[in-house]
């Protein structure tokens, strides 16, 4: 829920009952006030009626109004205190009962007790009350509408810095860190927020840089000691009279160093791709790259007696770094050869902007979703470092290439959407 809607709801939750209570309260107060007014009028009329009795000295009933409701007549009853009543009277013009206020009182003059009945219609007062209520409702409605508008305007202006900060945060990408800066605002709270964000982002960025530099530097630093081992191994191999067992050990050491060094190179490559260090790009013909790489692998493909089916009638032209394009396709193809059966099959075809590489082979021994993860490999392949497809994924990610994998009819298929 948006901040503005929430504020509105809270405001209404508090103000509506208050407004209703205030409305009811004023209704009753005004009503009481109006009744008091009517009663005052009736009392003053009563005084007039008493004057009339005194002056007329009548013994007959006197009608004081056209509807003959208000009257003075002789009464035989006892003296009572003046009594006010709410009553209904029949209005002939309107042909309906209307509310009225009645005053009954007694007056003793010359030994006669007169009953004075005074009736006054309260219709005008009710109309007045209705008018006041209508006005009141109108005012409440106007208040709510104006609150919504004011709130909306406030959120447009007061909250504007907040929303712009939010937008900037959403668009944040670590590689464009330099271009992100939360500007000072004249609202203290937002200024503090932006300050805090700037500090936090800078810290995260410098940690990130350190981390990535560490990975790269550590791998580089390892290359020199590896070179020392390798060089000494070469010299050791030259010694005459090495026994067979010793030679085997030397071979094992050499293979291990080679693997370590490849691992190192692959890690450096990964961190370089992730750090966007391959930034020069060119228009690449995928067809040319594929045929170059298949040529490179021709011997291996032949030795495994793999049937290579190239179907690249339409070339795909992509704008990307040539080295990365080469690595991308090499790794997928290498994978397709390494995990193929003898006498298997590899198909490479292009469809629009799609390059589809499929190969025969045993089903995966690892879950499909781990296929592109680092150091996840089919245990059958000891030669593999488990980084080839991680590199592929990384290249695809940094170049916005969509890569998909499927396994159907014992065919592993990689689909690249350039």
């Amino acid at each position: 829920m948006k901040l503005i809607s929430k504020t509105l709801i809270y405001y209404l939750l508090v103000s509506l009952p208050l407004l209703v209570v205030a409305g009811l309260l004023s209704y009753f107060l005004i009503k009481a006030e109006l009744r008091d007014g009517t009663d005052e009028t009736l009392l003053s009329e009563k005084v007039n009626a008493e004057k009339l009795i005194r002056s007329l000295k009548t013994s007959n009933t006197i009608y004081l109004s056209s509807d003959s409701l208000s009257n003075i007549k002789l009464s035989s009853g006892s003296l009572l205190n003046p009594d006010f009543n709410d009553t209904l009277i029949f209005d002939q013009e309107e042909n309906e009962n209307i509310g009225a206020r009645m005053l009954k009182s007694h007056y003793t003059f010359n030994g006669n007790i007169y009953q004075i009945t005074l009736v006054k219609s309260t219709m005008d007062e009710e109309e007045l009350l209705e008018g006041i209520l209508a006005t009141f409702t109108l005012v409440i409605g106007f208040l709510i509408v104006s609150f919504v508008i004011v709130n909306w305007l406030l959120s447009k202006t007061l909250w504007k810095p907040f929303y712009s900060t939010l937008l900037q945060l959403n668009k944040y990408e670590i590689k464009n860190h330099e271009h992100h800066h939360f500007n000072p605002e004249n609202t203290i709270e937002f200024n503090q927020l932006n300050d805090a964000l700037n500090k936090m982002m800078d810290k995260i960025y410098s940690d990130f840089i350190q981390q990535k530099e560490f990975t790269e530097n550590a791998s580089h630093e390892m290359q020199t000691p590896l070179a020392v081992v390798k060089a000494n191994l070469s010299l050791l191999m030259q010694s005459p009279n090495l026994k067979e067992d010793e030679m085997n050990r030397l071979q094992t050491i050499e293979n291990t160093i080679k693997k370590l060094s490849s691992l190192n190179k692959a890690l450096i490559l990964l961190s370089k791709i992730e750090n966007n260090q391959f930034n020069e790009s060119d228009t690449i013909s995928i067809k040319a790259i594929v045929s170059r790489i298949t040529d490179n692998f021709a011997e291996v493909i032949q030795s495994k007696n793999i049937n290579l089916d190239l179907n690249l009638s339409e070339d795909i032209l992509v704008k990307m770094n040539p080295t990365l394009a080469e690595i991308l396709i090499t790794n997928i193809l290498q994978n397709a050869i390494r995990h193929n059966n003898d006498n298997g099959k590899i198909t490479i075809e292009s469809k629009g902007n799609q390059l589809i590489i499929s190969n025969t082979g045993m089903p995966l021994s690892i879950p499909e979703e781990q296929l592109f993860m680092r150091f996840k490999k089919n245990d059958a392949s000891k030669e593999s470092l488990g980084l080839g497809l991680a590199i592929v994924k990384s290249i695809c990610k940094s170049n916005n290439i969509n890569i998909g994998y499927s396994f159907q009819n014992s065919l592993h298929t990689f689909t690249l959407n350039f």
């Binding site: 070179a227 020392v228 191999m237």
Partner: protein, 225 residues
Amino acid sequence: MKILLIEDEPELRKSIKQYLHQEGYVVESAADFIKASEKAGVYDYDCVLVDITLPKGSGLDIVKQLKDNGSKAGIIIISARNSSSDKIKGLDLGADDYLAKPFDLAELNSRIKALIRRRNFDGNKSIVVNEITIIPEQRQVSVKGETVMLTAKEYDLLMFFISNKNRVVSKNTIAEHLWGDDSDQMDSHDFIYVHLRNLRKKLMDKGCADYVQTIYGIGYNFKVE
């Protein structure tokens, strides 16, 4: 043949020196930028091997200094950073070759030989090993005057053997030389065997002696008495 080796890691310096010394080169070494710069300024070398990351300076500046002074030395950069930008920078400055650590001494040796061959243009244009004659410029091989037709891989293999003759070279080193980074893939050792078998056959068909000794478990030795 005089070589200047600029490398700050003492153990690596020692091994390279020893290997090249056995090849009959005179090797001088420098461990930091200042010493390297002094030596490069004072003496003439046929070949300079320079590491990029040095104490007190960058190896690339040594390359620049050599080129500015009009040195005729061949320059090979040996660097722990296998980065294409360093490589391009070095080659642009006038270095002749770039070798990423960890490299094999046999590979370094073959690069030095190739470089020196290219440098001594007006000198000897052919390499003669007993009955084998190679004209590198034309990639032509003959045995007892008769031309032997070799595939590219077989030629590279022969040149690598001859550059490192009388030395044990491992199959890994050969694979890396022939296929570069692609040698990581699977059974490159089997391919070496196939190429070697064909090379041997072609040479021996022309009456060449069998110089290639198999060193069990490790690799081969091109043994020429």
